[in-house]
């Protein structure tokens, strides 16, 4: 009995501490990426059922040491069809549409996203090199120009402000404010894309040599 409890405890601890993982997929002269356990926010389940399009942007860079060799962008669009009760799923890599699985439930989507395979992102560089992959994953990214428009609106309108009345205050920050502030912090930090959730993962070094 004690053993069972210990095993269950270890399993649950494992689930809690499971970190995001990025693994290179080397297929001949091509390098792809496998992203696992990204740890999406709890709100994703609700957003997926919204009937609106949820976008996941994955920027993968191939690096040799600190030098960036190549960058690939993968985008996933997911929209739940309220009538057909299934997801319209689009997966594109560098603008080229790839086959995406047929997904009917939110659970299926979460399982797919938590073991995402992006094949053939890069051609292996010539020569012998120790490479790493880095992935930046953004959920529902917002481009800078759009943030600028929102910022203008906030500047004109957000004078409700708690107590002290300064239009840019955050003194009684609500969770809605927190999301908003997180996005704006990224904007203020000069990011070209902001998102309410983002994750960065790096692979272990691997050899990607091509003769």
């Amino acid at each position: 009995m004690m053993r069972l409890v210990l095993i269950l405890l270890l399993i649950s601890l494992g689930a809690v501490t499971q970190a995001a993982e990025l693994t290179p997929i080397v297929e001949g002269e091509y390098i792809g990426a496998r992203l696992q356990a990204l740890g999406f926010p709890d709100s994703l389940r609700k957003d997926l059922r919204s009937g609106l399009t949820n976008k996941l942007l994955v920027r993968v860079t191939l690096q040799e040491g600190s030098r960036t060799l190549m960058t690939s962008n993968a985008q996933i669009d997911l929209q739940y069809d309220l009538w057909d009760e299934r997801f319209h799923t689009e997966l594109s890599v560098n603008g080229t549409l790839l086959n995406a699985p047929e997904l009917r439930t939110v659970d299926e989507v979460i399982v797919w996203l938590n073991d995402l395979r992006l094949p053939r992102l890069f051609k292996s560089p010539v020569g012998d090199a120790t490479l790493t992959l880095q992935a930046q994953v953004l959920l529902n990214p917002i481009e800078r120009e759009r943030m600028e428009r929102i910022r203008e609106w906030v500047k004109d309108n957000s004078s409700y402000v708690p107590l002290e009345g300064a239009a840019r205050g955050t003194s009684s920050e609500t969770s809605a404010n927190a999301i908003f502030n997180r996005i704006f912090e990224q904007y203020m930090a000069g990011e070209d894309l902001a998102a309410q959730w983002r994750q960065e993962v790096t692979s272990v070094p691997f050899g990607g040599q091509r003769p």
Binding site: K46, G51, L52, Y160, L163, R168, S171, S172, A176
Partner: protein, 400 residues
Amino acid sequence: MRVLAGWLLWLYLFPIAVFAQVAPERERLVIEDFACRGNEVTSCDFILGHVYLNPGDPVDEEELGNARLRLASLPNFHSVDVYLEKGAARGRVRVVIEVAEADPYTREWLAGTSYRLDDVSQLLSGRLTHQNLFGTGKLLDVVAVAVVPIDGRMRKQYVARVQFVDPHWRGSKRTYAVVGMSGGVNEYDTLDAQRVHVENFGVDFAVGRRIFDFSYVGLYGRYNALVDIEQTSTIADGSIERLRYTDDTYSFSLNYGWNSEDDPYFPTRGSRASLSWTWVSTADDMITDGGFRKTWTTDGNTSWSVQLADLPGAEYRQRIDEHFEFMGGFARPIAGSASGEVRRGRWYVDVGYNPQGHSVRGERRREFGLKAGVRLETRSFGMVDLYVIGSGLLTEGKLP
């Protein structure tokens, strides 16, 4: 024959190639109507006022995303979700804005013990603001301040103010209006042994406009229905002279200010300033008043500030604050507690200087002081500021 086989193969594979490269055409959704959920205090009109779409419009996902961000920027809501529901026919949808409202009340408490120039007093102040009156984002603000004398020279004050603020007067994005009334009793001893007792009650209004990025200009008017001032002076021969003035007065002022601080309670960068020119019906000259504060942060999250004259308020409100005319200091952040009771905070130390003019004997007087305190944003009490302030008087240079 080979060419024909090639064509047949191409025709066979063509549809696959098309489906592999082109996404299926998505149904174009049209908005049938809107619905608000979770709004108990906030009106649906107020919420939908932030969504720039109408029934009959195609679903514009970017605009719905923008509306969500606009609503999320307001302190009225804990969370904002936007989703679609099936409408009466295929392709027609209801857009649902679901909000979880935040507590519309904000609270601020201030308690400060003062040991200045040999008099000891205790300041207690409370402020309650309803930030979403009628569910329309208007504010009702009530503030009360009590300064209770404990020892030494008299320093007593009991004042209260109620004000209604419309941040978007007549629907304007940049124009605000304030109507308020305030009154109280103020009694204090001057350094020249003069006791001043003032009773006052009046109503006021202000109309202003936010300009540029961080600035505002405003017109302010006040009618004091009661002004009762009594001055009691002890003359050199020991006799007592009493002067009393009772009247109603008017005043009008033009205000200009800006506020680029990043946070109203815990600023780490930016500045705020105010400048006003006031005409009072009982004074011959215009009265100029103002204040300035600049804040910046260095490595290690230490925030520094310098302040001149009064701490500038914002568009709608004056800050309750005990300070010196010239002040500078630093603040260090305090992390929130694990229980969530303390959300964030900081402790601070300021040094200050007040030129106190000359005594009746011609001595130059200067006040030097120190203020130290802690400011916390708490879950149960709102904003809490506790401080001690003390000062001493340096008297020198008796004039011939």
